[in-house]
Symmetry: C2
C-alpha cells in the first residue's frame, strides 16, 4: 500500500515528480480507454527504463494453446489472451540528432502527470535536461475519442529553454509487439502490409487463428509557436514499423508541436479488405475537425457520462477521488454500445487474467450499468449471454451433461470456456447462478420483462437443467447434495455442499419454474416457441421441484449459522486478527494446501448469498452470519470488501463500512496489493459504486419502487449519487441532516425513505 | 488388451511375425537393462517406421523447468526428467550401397523376436527382401552385460541368400537425441567432443544444469563365416555422431557379422576429465574377453539371479511367463548395488512420469527385494531415504512446517520434490507413511534392527513431527483431524480425514515413540546422539501421544466400515459393474470433476491400510471392507489389483484372486491399458510378486518366523517360489496336495504352516 503516491484531487488523478520505480504502476493508473480501444499510459517518446507496453482493441483476442502440468479430461484447448495491439502512440524525438529519453536525461523537474477524469484526457508536463545539456519543456496531452472511437489524438509540445536546437518528431506505428502473457511464445500477429504515404502511414496485420484484421494508421500536423507549418517528412519503414520524420530548427523559447491522429480500424466493424479506405476516412474526419474540436467533443461526451453517473463526496477528497476513479475506469472499459463486448477484469489496463467475461459482470457490474446508463446497456450485457447459450450447452456436454444443460464458462471471449484449472473451470459452477440472478435483477430494476420471454427463459432453462443434473441424491442424508464444487471463496476447492452454490442452485430452478409459469399464463406464443425449442418435459420440472424441496444446506445448530460447506467447523478456527501480520496476504506467504485447509475466506461466500438474497433472511440472521464469517475473511479478492461494506452499513457498523469502502475505492490508487503495475481491478470498481449506492445510500428496488435507508460516514459532510431509474434521473443527496432528492424526468416519482413514502417532483423535463 | 500378441513360453517373451503397428509396443516389452543402463528394444539398423527411441543411464536426469497453468505457492521449480541418452546400439547397413530398412523391405518372413529371460539377451531373426530384390537372412542378438555394467554387446549377422552383395556395416554412436517428454523443449544435452579413432569412437557430452558427464563409446569386430577379418574402416563424423564404415563383398550364402562393443562411462563413477581413458579400459576388457565369454558371464549372472528369485507355475504357461517377466524386469531395473539409485515406475522402458522414486518403492518394491536379494539391497533402499532426510525437511519447510518436520517428496531424483500438481504434491502426504512402514517391514523381515538406531530413527522422528504438525484439533469433533489430503486413491482430491492417511499417521507416531523408547533402553549412545541432533522434546512426544489417542477415523455405523473419507456416503453409490462399459476406463471418458465426485476408487485406499496393518483387524472386518470397497474400485492404477489379489486369496475367493493376479502379471504383456508403447509398469511388477508369495502363498513374517497359509488357483497344478529369509534360501512348493519346502542354508528353519509348526532341514550348506 502506498498512500502518498497519488495527489488527492476531486477530479483528477495526479502524480507529482518523476520516479522511475513508479512508471509501470502509473502506466496502469493513468490508462485511457473509450470502450472500443484502450491504452496504458506509456510514454509517446522512447523510454529505455522499465515499462509495460499495452495497447488494446476491444474484442480482439488470441486463443493461446492451454498450458497445464498434467492434462485432465475436459480441459479447454485454449485460454483467450487479451492481446497487446500495435503501437499507435509512438513519437520518437531527436534533439540535435540525439534520442530523447527520460531514462537518460540528467535532470527531470516539475514533472506532473494528470488523468483528467472530468474531460477524459491524459497529460504529462515536465522540464528535462538531455545528456548534452539541452533543457526542454515538454507538454504531452492525449485522449481516445469517445465521439470517434477508432481515433486517438496526441498533442506533443516541446520548447527548448536554454538554447536553440534541431528537433525531429518521428511519429510511428509499430506492429512488432508481443504479449507479456503468453503460454508458448506463439506469434500472435501476422503483418501483411506496411505502407508509408506522403503524410499518412498504415500497417495491416491480423491475429493468427482468430483472424481479426486490423489496420493501424496515423497522420500528423506540425505547429511552430501554435501555427501549423509544412514540414516535409522523411519516410522510413521496416517490415513491422512505419515512421515519418519531421525535422525543424527550433529557436530557444520557441514551441514546436506535433498533433498525431492515429488509431485502429478492424474487421469487427469494416470489410477486412477495405481497412485502409476506412482508416483514411477516419483520418479525414479527424483532421478536418482538428485537435481542438475533437477535445471539445471529448469534454462534452464525458460531461454527459458524468451527468448520469457522478457521485460527489463532500469533506473527504480521497474518497471523492476514489469513487470518481472507479466510475471513470468503468466507463473507459465498457460503454454498452456493442453487444459483442464485455467487461474484462483488467479492462484496457493490462493483460492479466485473459478473456473478457467473468461472473464479475453479472454479480458486480450490471447494477452499475443499469443505474448509470440507458436501460439498453444492461440489456446488451444480458443479450451477450443469450448469444452464448449454445456454447454453454456445448461446454456442459464436454463435462458429461446432456439434454440442453448449460454451464456458462468461468472465463470467455466468445462463449467457450478458456480457463484451465480444474478446481475453477470444472468446479466453480456457482457462476451459472449469477447469470440467472442478473436476469432477475435486470427485471427488478428496469421493470422490463420482455427480455425473459424473448431470450432469458431459454437461458434459465439451460441453467436449471444443469443444476438438476449436477445435484445428486444422498441416500445417507436423504437430501439432494451438490458435491465437489468451488464456491465464490476460491480458498476452498472441491468441497461438498457449498451453501452458496446449493442455495443459488435451488433459487435458479425455482426462478425458472416461476417464470415458465408466467409465460404459460401470459406469453402463449413465446411459451410455445420455447417449449418446442427446448423440449422441456413435465418430468424434468417435477424433478427440479423435488430437488428444490429437499436440497441440503449445511447448518450449525451450535452457532446458528449456515456452514460455508460440509466440514467447515473441523478447521482450526483462528481469527484473521490473531494471525501473525507477517503471514499476510496469505496467498503470498502460504502454500496452496495450507490456504485450503485454513478457515480463511478469500471473498464473501455465504455472505455473497446473503447479499443476493437479502430479503430471504432477517437482519438478525445477517448479523449472525456476518459476525461468524467476517472474522475469517482475508479479502484477498478485490471483489470482497464491497459486499462487506454494504452489509456493515446495513448493520449500522459505519466505521467498519467506511474502512471497507476505502479499501475497495482506493485499491488501485493506493496500490493495496502491490500489483497495480499489472493493471487495475476494473470489475471490482462496480462493487465500489455499490458500496455507496446500496451500502451508505441504502438503495433497494422493491415492488417497482426505490427504497432508501441512507446513512453517512462520520468522515463525510455529505454525498450524492445519481440513478437512472426507469428513464428518470434521480439525484440522491445525503447529508448528516437527512436525504434529499432531485429528479429529472417526465413525471413525479414515489420513493420510500426509511419505510416512509416520499413523492419527488420532477425539476425539469429534460433527461 | 491384446492376448494374442506375445507367444506363450515359460522362459522367453516371443513375438512371431513382423507387424509395424506393434514396433513401439515391442520396443517397451523387449527392453534390456542391467541396473546401470537400459535400452528399449529399438532396431540396430535404420528404421523409418514409427519408433520410440530410448537409451537410459541410471541416475542421469534433467531438472526440467516446471510447467503449470497457474503457479501456486509451494510448487517445485522443476520436474526431474528421465533422459534419453546417446544412442550406442546403432549399426547402419548398406546392401550394394542401399540403406537396409525393414520399413521399406518388400518382404519380411520368419520374423521372430525373443527376449530370453533365463539368460538375459534379446534376439531378432528374420529373412527380408530389399527393394532391389536381395534376400537377406539376419540374426541380431544383444545384451547389456551384468558383469561389466558399462558395456553392451551386439552380434549382428547377415547372410545374402539369393545373390552375392556388397555389404557395409556402419556402427555409430549418436548424441543428437532428444526427449519426447519435455516441458519447454529445453536442450538437455551439450556435446563437447566427437572423436573417431582407428577402430574406436567416443562422444563426450554432458547434461545441462545437472552436469552429468557421459562418454559414449564403441569398438567393433568383423567376421566372415565366423572368422574374424580385418576390414579397414572409413571414418565419418558430424558434430553429434561418430561412425566407422566396414564394407565387404559377401558371397551368396556367406555370413558377414559385426560384433559391436559399446556403452557409457559417466561422471557418476569416474573423474569427468578421464572418461575416454575409462571408456578405453572398458573396451579393452570387453574385447579381450570377447563376445562368447561375455555371453557366458551373462548367462551365469542371470542364473544366479533366478536361483534366488524364480517363481515356477506348472500347468499355466501364460501365468508362468507373466511372473517371470515381472521378476526379470525388476532385476533389469534395480539390482541394489548402488545406494544412489532407485526404482523408476517405467524403469528403463520409457520416459513417462519422470523422476525415479515414488512411494511405490516402499509400498510395493521393498518386499520383493528383501526376499530375493541379499539383505543389503533393501537396506540400500532405506539408506537412500535417510540420505534424503535433509531435503525432506526442506520440502516440509517450503510448505510451512517447522522444527525438523519431514515430508518426503512424491517424486524425486535427489530428494527434492519434483511433482507439480497441488492435489498430489501438497496433499498426497500419505507417502510419508509408506516410508516409515518400510522401516518396520525391513526390521520385521530381516531381523536387522541396526538400521533404526543408525539411521531410521531420525527418519521416523522427521516423519512423526510432520504428522504432529499436520494434524489439527477439531473442537467440533473433539478429535484430531487431518484435513485437505489426497489418499492413495487419486480419484479423490482435497478430502478431509482420509482413513488411510489418518491411520498411518497415527501408526507412524506410535512406531516412532515405541522405537525411541527401545533406543532409550538399549542404545544409549545412539539415543544421545539422536536427541542432540533432532532436539526432540518431551512436550512434542506428549502431544504426539495425545494426537494418537484422539485421532479421528470416519466410520459408518450403518455399514460397519471405516469410511474412505468424510462424506464418502453422500456419493451416488452405483457399483462399477452397473456402469456402462463404454464409460470405462473412466479416466479416458469422464472429466476430472465427474471422477472426483463419483465413488470410484482408482486403487486400494482403505484396503491398502488393511493390507499394511492386517494384524490390526479381524478377517471378518477385512471381509466387510473388501465387500464394501471392491465393488467401487476401477483398478485404473497398475498398483491396485495386487492388493486385491492378496486379500481375495486370504478371503478364500480364489477365482477372484486369480483374475486379479492375471491382470497384474500380464498387464504389459497383454497390454491391458493399451499404452505399453510408452513403457512397462515396473513398480507394479513387485506387486505381482506379492500376489503369489503373500496372496496364494500366504506367506507372512511374525515374531521372526515365516508363516504360510498357502492356496492354489484351480488353473494351476503347482507353483513354487523362493525366499531369502535371513540369509537362507527357502523354496516353497505348493501343489494341490499341500505345501513343501526346500532349504539351502546354514541351519534348519522352523516355519508355521496354517498355524502349525514345521521344522525344515537344510539340504545343502551352499547358499
Amino acid at each position: 500500500m502506498n498512500q502518498d503516491y497519488i495527489t488527492p484531487n476531486e477530479w483528477s488523478i495526479i502524480e507529482d515528480g518523476f520516479d522511475k520505480g513508479r512508471v509501470k504502476s502509473s502506466e496502469s493508473l493513468f490508462s485511457l480507454g473509450n470502450g472500443a480501444m484502450g491504452q496504458r499510459a506509456n510514454f509517446e517518446e522512447t523510454y529505455t527504463g522499465e515499462t509495460f507496453q499495452g495497447s488494446y482493441i476491444a474484442g480482439v483476442y488470441y486463443p493461446d494453446k492451454t498450458r497445464v502440468g498434467w492434462w485432465k479430461n475436459g480441459y479447454p484447448e485454449y485460454f483467450a489472451k487479451v492481446l497487446n495491439a500495435p503501437n499507435w502512440i509512438g513519437i520518437r524525438i531527436l534533439v540535435n540528432g540525439e534520442e530523447f529519453d527520460l531514462n537518460t536525461c540528467t535532470k527531470v523537474e516539475n514533472y506532473q502527470r494528470e488523468l483528467n477524469m472530468k474531460e477524459g484526457w491524459h497529460k504529462r508536463i515536465f522540464t528535462a535536461t538531455t545528456p548534452y545539456g539541452i533543457e526542454l519543456k515538454v507538454e504531452a496531452k492525449r485522449f481516445l475519442s469517445l465521439a470517434h472511437d477508432e481515433l486517438g489524438v496526441i498533442n506533443f509540445n516541446i520548447i527548448p529553454l536554454n538554447q536553440s536546437a534541431e528537433i525531429s518528431f518521428i511519429p510511428y506505428i509499430d506492429a512488432g509487439i508481443t504479449n507479456q502473457d503468453s503460454n508458448w511464445d506463439d506469434k500472435f500477429w501476422e503483418i501483411t502490409n506496411v505502407q508509408n504515404e506522403e503524410k499518412q502511414a498504415f500497417i495491416e496485420s491480423h491475429t493468427n487463428k482468430t483472424h481479426y484484421y486490423v489496420c493501424t494508421f496515423m497522420e500528423s500536423k506540425l505547429l511552430l509557436d501554435g501555427n501549423e507549418i509544412d514540414v516535409t517528412a522523411e519516410k522510413a519503414s521496416t517490415d513491422k514499423q512505419a515512421s515519418l520524420q519531421y525535422t525543424q530548427q527550433v529557436e530557444k523559447g520557441q514551441s514546436f508541436s506535433i498533433q498525431k491522429y492515429a488509431g485502429y480500424v478492424t474487421s469487427l466493424n469494416h470489410e477486412k479488405n477495405q481497412l485502409i479506405d476506412a482508416a483514411k476516412q477516419v483520418l479525414a474526419e479527424g483532421i478536418q475537425l482538428g485537435y481542438d474540436a475533437l477535445l471539445k467533443l471529448q469534454q462534452e461526451a464525458w460531461a454527459n457520462i458524468w451527468a448520469m453517473s457522478d457521485i460527489t463526496i463532500e469533506g473527504d477528497v480521497k474518497a471523492q477521488q476514489g469513487i470518481r476513479f472507479n466510475i471513470f475506469q468503468l466507463n473507459q472499459t465498457y460503454l454498452g454500445k456493442d453487444a459483442r463486448l464485455n467487461i474484462g477484469p483488467k479492462g484496457f489496463t493490462g493483460e492479466k487474467y485473459g478473456g473478457s467475461t467473468y461472473w464479475d459482470t453479472e454479480a458486480y457490474c450490471i447494477p452499475f450499468y443499469m443505474a448509470t446508463k440507458d436501460q439498453e446497456v444492461a440489456r446488451n450485457l444480458l443479450t451477450y449471454r443469450y448469444k452464448h447459450l449454445g456454447k454453454a450447452i456445448e461446454n456442459a456436454e464436454k463435462l458429461g451433461f446432456t439434454n440442453g444443460a448449460a454451464l456458462y464458462p468461468m472465463v470467455t471471449m466468445n462463449g467457450e470456456e478458456s480457463h484451465n484449472e480444474w478446481e475453477i473451470t470444472f468446479e466453480e459452477i456457482h457462476r451459472n447462478g449469477a447469470i440467472a440472478f442478473a436476469i432477475y435483477n435486470y427485471h427488478r430494476f428496469t421493470g422490463d420483462y420482455s427480455y425473459i420471454p424473448e431470450m432469458g427463459m431459454e437461458v434459465l432453462i439451460g441453467i436449471a437443467r444443469f443444476w438438476q443434473q449436477r445435484a445428486t441424491f444422498s441416500t445417507h442424508k436423504n437430501k439432494w447434495v451438490i458435491l465437489g464444487v468451488t464456491g465464490p471463496n476460491e480458498y476452498e476447492n472441491n468441497v461438498n455442499n457449498n451453501w452458496y452454490t446449493n442455495y443459488i442452485a435451488k433459487w435458479c430452478m425455482e426462478y425458472m419454474l416461476e417464470n415458465l409459469n408466467i409465460l404459460k399464463q401470459g406469453f402463449a406464443a413465446d411459451y410455445a416457441r420455447i417449449l418446442e425449442k427446448t423440449n422441456i418435459q413435465d418430468q424434468e420440472l417435477e424433478q427440479m421441484k423435488e430437488i428444490c424441496d429437499a436440497m441440503y444446506f449445511p447448518y450449525s445448530e451450535e452457532h446458528g449459522v449456515y456452514l460455508q460447506q460440509d466440514g467447515f467447523l473441523d478447521k482450526e478456527m483462528i481469527r484473521v486478527k490473531d494471525l501473525d501480520a507477517k503471514q499476510r496476504p496469505i496467498n503470498q506467504h502460504w502454500s496452496w494446501d495450507r490456504i485450503l485447509r485454513s478457515p480463511y475466506i478469500k471473498q464473501a461466500d455465504t455472505l455473497q448469498g446473503f447479499y443476493f438474497f437479502e430479503d430471504h433472511f432477517s437482519e438478525t440472521e445477517l448479523e449472525k452470519h456476518f459476525d461468524f464469517y467476517e472474522p475469517f475473511t482475508v479479502h484477498e479478492s478485490s471483489l470482497s470488501p464491497c459486499v462487506h461494506s454494504i452489509q456493515a452499513a446495513k448493520l449500522n457498523r459505519m466505521e467498519q463500512a467506511y474502512q471497507f469502502y476505502l479499501r475497495t475505492s482506493r485499491l488501485d490508487l493506493d496500490d493495496y496489493n502491490k500489483e497495480v503495475e499489472e493493471g487495475c481491478h476494473i470489475t471490482s470498481m462496480a462493487g465500489t459504486w455499490m458500496s455507496i449506492v446500496e451500502g451508505f445510500g441504502g438503495m433497494r428496488v422493491k415492488d417497482d419502487q426505490l427504497h432508501f435507508s441512507s446513512k453517512i460516514p462520520t468522515q463525510w459532510d455529505s454525498y450524492s449519487f445519481k440513478v437512472n431509474f426507469r428513464n428518470q434521473i434521480l439525484t440522491v443527496k445525503v447529508s448528516k441532516s437527512g436525504v434529499d432528492f432531485k429528479l429529472k424526468g417526465a413525471e413525479q416519482m414515489q420513493v420510500m425513505v426509511n419505510g416512509e413514502s416520499r413523492m419527488i417532483q420532477t425539476e425539469t423535463m429534460s433527461v
